[in-house]
Amino acid sequence: MAYSDKVIDHYSNPRNVGTLDKSKKNVGTGLVGAPECGDVMRLQIEVDESTNTITDAKFKTFGCGSAIASSSLATEWLKGKTIDEALSIDNMEIVEELALPPVKIHCSVLAEDAIKSAISDYRVKNGLPALEEAKSHH
């Protein structure tokens, strides 16, 4: 399969690979996918609670090049966004930006799930209800 230049760029030079301290109250962690399906994404956000703004984002992904690129791109987009802005990120924006072929759309869906799951985790940690979407997406 031919990969787009942007997928190759993110795969070769992934942005924001790493781990945030998940014990911190202002860090939200989303772990989505399953090893048997060939994709597992872990996406983490660190939130400035006073402004509700995402100050840092990190990912680790087990998956194909498109899955790695989708999560790498997601962390780039998340930094500096408010929680509400982050919630509005749609998987099709990732598909467009990375020029993902139809068989790889599930990678972008997984990235969107990971964002929502991380935000939901942050909300629960801070006494807010979990996101419905993050709970029932699958």
Partner: protein
């Protein structure tokens, strides 16, 4: 200078040896006759070339030249052997025994046989990829007409105990066929000593051209016959009609001759190279060889790298032409059925690489491959949440994964 990408997918196909091409050339141009033309020198020259090739092939596998039936390749040979025996011996029985790790050319042919009313037993393999001889013996019935078990596996290189298998088949009055595609030309295959009644093989896995293969069909003790699957002019003793592919046949003959003469030297060199590649890659934590390391073709290595996803790995080793145990056909990944049959979990099957070395593989290429794979696996693991969990001692099976 090392030329990239490096070709290490020689179980898929091998490059044509220049000496084979040279032998074929005249038969693509000036010596163009039809080997079945009996009335003029053009036909005689073609027939002579075909006869010579039959001898070259016969010498490699220790058979009589008349026992070689030319086909378009191993897939056709597998089809002709299985379907041909099923039809020819229908009076005797309708039961065929094979194994779950066979090539699709055998498995899908057996599925076809089942649709025709035949009964097929698919023997499982153990963790090493070997069938159990007691299982085989237990599966034999008076209706069993054929046991067809491959010589060497295309994905793992695992060698089945063909002599013992043949002995059991014969003990119960069944024929023994083997798909010799990966083994012929690479290791000594002797149809007499091995007790083989039918054997499929092809030129393009042993430095010959694509589109030409053969089915060995024993003529003596017992005299084996297969019902033709291609009707026409009655070529190849009536078992496979169609004008002979003379340049291809000359190529197959020459390829066999070269393999016979160079096999010992090739094996000695390639097994050292393969072992070096394997030892170096096993230095990576959580990497595993798939299949028996004892009963194996000398030029094949199949290794899984845990906590790395197969397609991502393939992208990471872009300077190598290798195969992975994962076929990403659509949104869902299909792990290799061969590796699954060995008992591998889906994730280990996905994260496997198959290396197939050839006569043309160099030490320099192996050095490059070692570093390239090590770098890719290390980089992907640094990026893998599963690797991090493993390192923290978290049991991945304890996690409730959100299946999608």
């Amino acid at each position: 200078m090392l030329k990239l990408p490096i070709y290490l997918d020689n179980n898929a196909t091998t490059p044509l040896d220049p000496r084979v091409l040279e032998a074929m050339m005249p038969y693509l141009t000036e010596v163009f006759g039809n080997a079945a033309s009996r009335n003029h020198p053009f036909g005689w020259a073609a027939e002579e070339a075909v006869d010579y090739a039959r001898e070259q092939i016969a010498q490699l596998i220790n058979c009589d030249p008349k026992e070689i039936i030319f086909t378009s390749g191993a897939t056709e040979s597998d089809n002709l052997g299985i379907k041909g025996v099923f039809e020819m011996y229908s009076q005797k029985g309708n039961h065929i025994i094979t194994a779950t790790t066979e090539h699709k050319a055998v498995l899908d042919t057996c599925k076809h046989i089942e649709k025709l009313g035949g009964r097929v037993t698919y023997l499982p393999v153990d963790g090493e990829g070997l069938i159990n001889l007691a299982d085989l013996e237990a599966a034999m019935t008076p209706e069993t007409i054929l046991v067809t078990i491959m010589y060497g596996n295309n994905e793992t290189g695992v060698l089945q105990p063909v002599r013992e298998i043949a002995a059991i088949a014969h003990k119960y009055g069944a024929l023994f066929m083997t798909d010799g595609t990966q083994a012929v030309g690479k290791i000594p295959v002797d149809v007499i000593a091995d007790g083989i009644d039918l054997m499929a093989f092809t030129a393009h896995k042993m430095y010959g051209p694509k589109g030409i293969g053969a089915l060995y069909v024993r003529r003596k003790s017992p005299r084996v016959k297969v019902t033709a699957q291609m009707d026409g002019g009655g070529h190849e003793r009536g078992m496979r009609s169609g004008t002979l592919n003379v340049p291809g046949i000359v190529g197959l003959g020459k390829a066999c001759e070269l393999c016979r003469l160079e096999m010992a030297a090739d094996t000695a060199r390639l097994s050292v190279m393969r072992d070096r590649l394997e030892a170096a890659l096993l230095e990576l934590e959580e990497s595993y060889v798939n299949g028996s390391r004892e009963h194996r073709l000398p030029h094949v290595a199949n290794i899984s790298f845990k906590y790395v996803e197969g397609e991502g790995l393939m992208m990471g080793v872009k300077d190598l032409a290798v195969s992975s145990g994962s076929a990403c056909t659509s949104a869902s990944l299909e792990p290799s059925y061969v590796l699954k049959a060995l008992g591998l979990s889906d994730d280990l099957a996905h994260s496997s690489l198959r290396f197939g070395l050839s006569r043309f593989t160099t030490d320099e290429q192996i050095d490059y491959a070692i570093n390239h794979v090590k770098e890719a696996v290390t980089k992907l693991r640094e990026m893998s949440p599963l690797w991090e969990m493993f390192k923290e001692g978290i049991d991945l099976n304890s996690i409730e994964w959100a299946e999608h």
